[in-house]
């Protein structure tokens, strides 16, 4: 293979947020006429890398080079000048504007100082034809389906006549037909000498389109090699595999007790037709790629998202909960993933946050019982090892301690079912260890813990069994002996568990 001058390179770049390193000195080199795959699990640092390559973020260390020359300040303007275009995973279109206006945004042709719509339509038509957009160009983008909008997004990137095109999960909302058009287009662009970076969780697509792969794992590159000769299982192996160390407690499975949750045909949000049951004393893991319906599943059980079931029995009660209060009364508790937005009232004190769910219980003659409240707060603070004044605003605490507050506020209600949505995300190692110990402790006490996690090792080392979600359905139900990172990631990627194992 002829190695030519790379169009865009990252050379040993690192980037951290709030002292938390996300990329640790990684390099990637995008060659003209090549489709380069970027793979990695949730949180491996892919989005950060894309933002650095498109100038949206500046690296803390290392450099970005264009045509072999380092660029000192690679900002969005420099990226545009270098011919870098990105098709984002989250759509960035203005839904009130037409297809033509969106595609040409920022580069409208002018005539007498006004937008020349006729010229715009002509210019836009070329790229729209390329991606197979046959709709009238003055159709508002808001009227299009998600898949068509994705095609507009791609046309918008092509309109800039890019030399480097970055596609972040472009097919996740496309129909098979549209995906086919896109694949053909990608190969055509490649043959025109454009450098493409392709991020996808669909391994078959990656193998069909790409000739080179970079694998990210916890912010470092674990593989940078030609794709030829690597099969799907090989790719999965490249993405997992790390030493869990002594982060996780050792534990013995508890003999499962009575059935706490049993639903058939549960649909809520993007979750479709799920059968599920779980018993006291279990930790049931929920895995999969981000946003495959795992959260909606928890919210549906919690009564926070309207849903439907064929049959449901939750904590000795028939049917789904109509609101969160009813779920709490029956013994369910939920810890959200985004503790700052959903878990805590940040400007309020630690004590106020800890008391929020149990306010109604700690009363005397209808008024708040200050003595009982104080005792409760003291007990929780000592159990959580939160030192200092509990009158401080909760936002003064570290992320790990905030998470402990978001979890511990439920303990006064003594819930029998804990629904946990990624409880260790953005939490330091020490607090992770404490939370893991707590979770196994809950199971030993006979509580049912449902642990949704984007951290695969957590699922492997803490759970009695694991369900893997994909497209709103469960695609694998792994028992204790079958739970491996390979099995979870393989199922999440759409391989059958047999292939991955």
């Amino acid at each position: 293979m002829i190695s030519s001058m790379p169009l865009l390179e990252a050379r040993g770049i690192s980037k951290g947020f709030f002292g938390n390193p996300v990329l640790k000195g990684i390099s990637i080199s995008l060659q003209p006429g090549r489709v380069h795959a970027l793979l990695g699990e949730n949180g491996a640092g892919k989005s950060t890398l894309i933002n650095l390559l498109s100038g949206a973020l500046q690296p803390d260390g290392g450099e970005i080079a264009v045509d072999g020359k380092a660029v000192s300040r690679f900002n969005p303007g420099a990226a545009r000048a270098a011919g870098v275009a990105v098709v984002q995973q989250e759509l960035s279109l203005a839904s009130e504007l037409s297809i033509a206006e969106n595609v040409g945004l920022g580069a409208y042709p002018r005539r007498f100082g006004l937008v020349d719509y006729k010229a715009l339509a002509e210019q836009v038509k070329t790229v729209c034809d390329m991606v197979g957009l046959t709709e009238a160009l003055d159709t508002p983008v808001g009227d299009l389906s998600l898949g068509r909008r994705q095609m507009v997004e791609i046309a918008k990137a092509l309109f800039l006549k890019p030399r480097v095109l970055i596609l972040d999960e472009p097919t996740s909302s496309l129909s098979a037909h549209e995906a086919g058009i896109l694949s053909a287009l990608i190969l055509k662009l490649r043959d025109q000498g454009i450098a493409l970076l392709y991020i996808s969780h669909r391994l078959n697509e990656v193998r069909a389109l790409c000739s080179h792969v970079t694998v990210l794992k916890d912010g470092v590159v674990t593989a940078d090699q030609p794709l030829a000769g690597v099969d799907a299982e090989g790719l999965v192996k490249l993405m997992v595999g790390r030493d869990p160390g002594d982060l996780f407690p050792t534990w013995e499975a508890v003999l499962p007790g009575e059935e706490r949750i049993s639903v058939t045909g549960l649909s809520a949000g993007m979750v479709r037709d799920i059968d599920f049951s779980a018993r006291a004393g279990e930790i049931v893991g929920i895995g999969g790629l981000v946003g495959q319906g795992q959260e909606d599943f928890l919210l549906g059980l919690y009564g926070a998202l309207p849903g439907s079931v064929k049959t449901a029995r939750l904590c000795e009660r028939d049917g789904l909960f109509s609101d969160v209060g009813a779920a709490n009364a029956a013994g369910l508790a939920y810890v959200p993933a985004d503790r700052k937005k959903e878990g805590l009232v940040l400007p309020h004190s630690i004590a106020t946050n800890l008391l929020m769910p149990s306010l109604g219980k700690l009363t005397k003659n209808g008024f708040r019982d200050r003595g009982a409240e104080k005792n409760t707060v003291l007990q929780l603070a000592s159990r959580l090892m939160i030192k200092g004044d509990t009158g401080r605003p909760v936002q003064a605490l570290s992320g790990g301690n905030q998470q402990k507050v978001a979890l511990a506020k439920w303990l006064p209600l003594d819930p029998s079912v804990l629904l946990l949505n990624d409880p260790t995300r953005g939490v330091d190692i020490e607090t992770k260890r404490e939370i893991y110990l707590m979770l196994r402790g809950f199971a030993a006490e006979g509580k049912l813990v449902i642990l949704l996690s984007s951290d695969t090792p957590e699922l492997v080392h803490l759970c009695d069994r694991v369900l893997v979600f994909r497209d709103g359905r469960t695609v694998a139900a792994l028992q204790r002996a079958e739970i491996t990172e390979e099995a979870i990631v393989g199922a999440a990627m759409g391989l059958t568990s047999r292939e991955a194992a």
Binding site: Y302, A304, D323, V324, G325, A327, N328, Y334, P336, K341, E342, G343, L344, V345, L346, P347, H348, T352, L355, M356, P357, L359, G360, L362, T363, G366, F367, R368, K409
Partner: protein, 317 residues
Amino acid sequence: MNPVSTAVRGLFRSPPLLTFLLVALVWLVASLTLRGFGAYGHLRYLLELSAVIGIVAAGQTLVIIMGGIDLSVGAIITVTAILLPLISPAADPSGIVGIALALAIATGIGLLNGAGAAYLRVPPIIMTLAMATFLQGLLVMVAGGSAVSVTNASVIWLGQARPLGIPAGVILWIVVAISVLLILHRTPMGSRFLALGANPVAARLSGISITRNTLVLYALSGFFSGVAGILILGMNRQGYVGIGDPYLLTSIAAVVLGGTSILGGRGTYAGTIPGAILLVTTTALITIVNASPGWRSIMFGSLILALLLISGREARR
């Protein structure tokens, strides 16, 4: 650290106290410089006027703390003041039945506001504004342009009596103030209002019902507006269309002057109390200045803005 500077800083962190001190300062300076201002009768009159705003602002404080706003308080006051003389049964000489009926109507209107906000998800600013417009139309049809005189004995007593030299309206305000402070700071419900105002998503996921609390809150605001309407009627002896209009802006201004965040989640009625007195005092001072009504209005608007900039400013990050 210097204890004096710490105390001063603590003072500036407590908007209610700051507003109280501002009122004291204005009263002191005005009493020393303006003849007649410091007379007991004049100060008592200012407190009587403040009581009305303070009672309207009681509901408004709770609503704003939960992140909403009630733009129908003026209209509810007018409804109460016009309907009460019409619905007080002649068979009840005490007039208590008429008061109970009027308060039930006012509370019911508030409940409708709450239902619109909670069930139909209409933004409170739109819901209450639409309600106000609707009620005004209804009143024009019921009362026409004429004023309605009150004969209800209890209402007149409330507006005119001075047990122990203290106006009944001020005593009523004290009762309202104690109730609201207890609700806000000593009951689970008050704590829930604050949580909902600061972060409705987190509050809901912690089992706090947005629907139930919204209903209760707007019903309370309607109730307090009704109470204020009855007091105004007693003081005026007449109800007419537009009688409640001045209390919309002043109720909101009193809340914000008292340091309650207009964005919700933070505040106390303890600040609204001096906020109401400060507003009335300011109005009185403007009246003393010999200016045309147009200029008085302009001065009042500018002063509210200036006072808000000084004391009710959102804390900067």
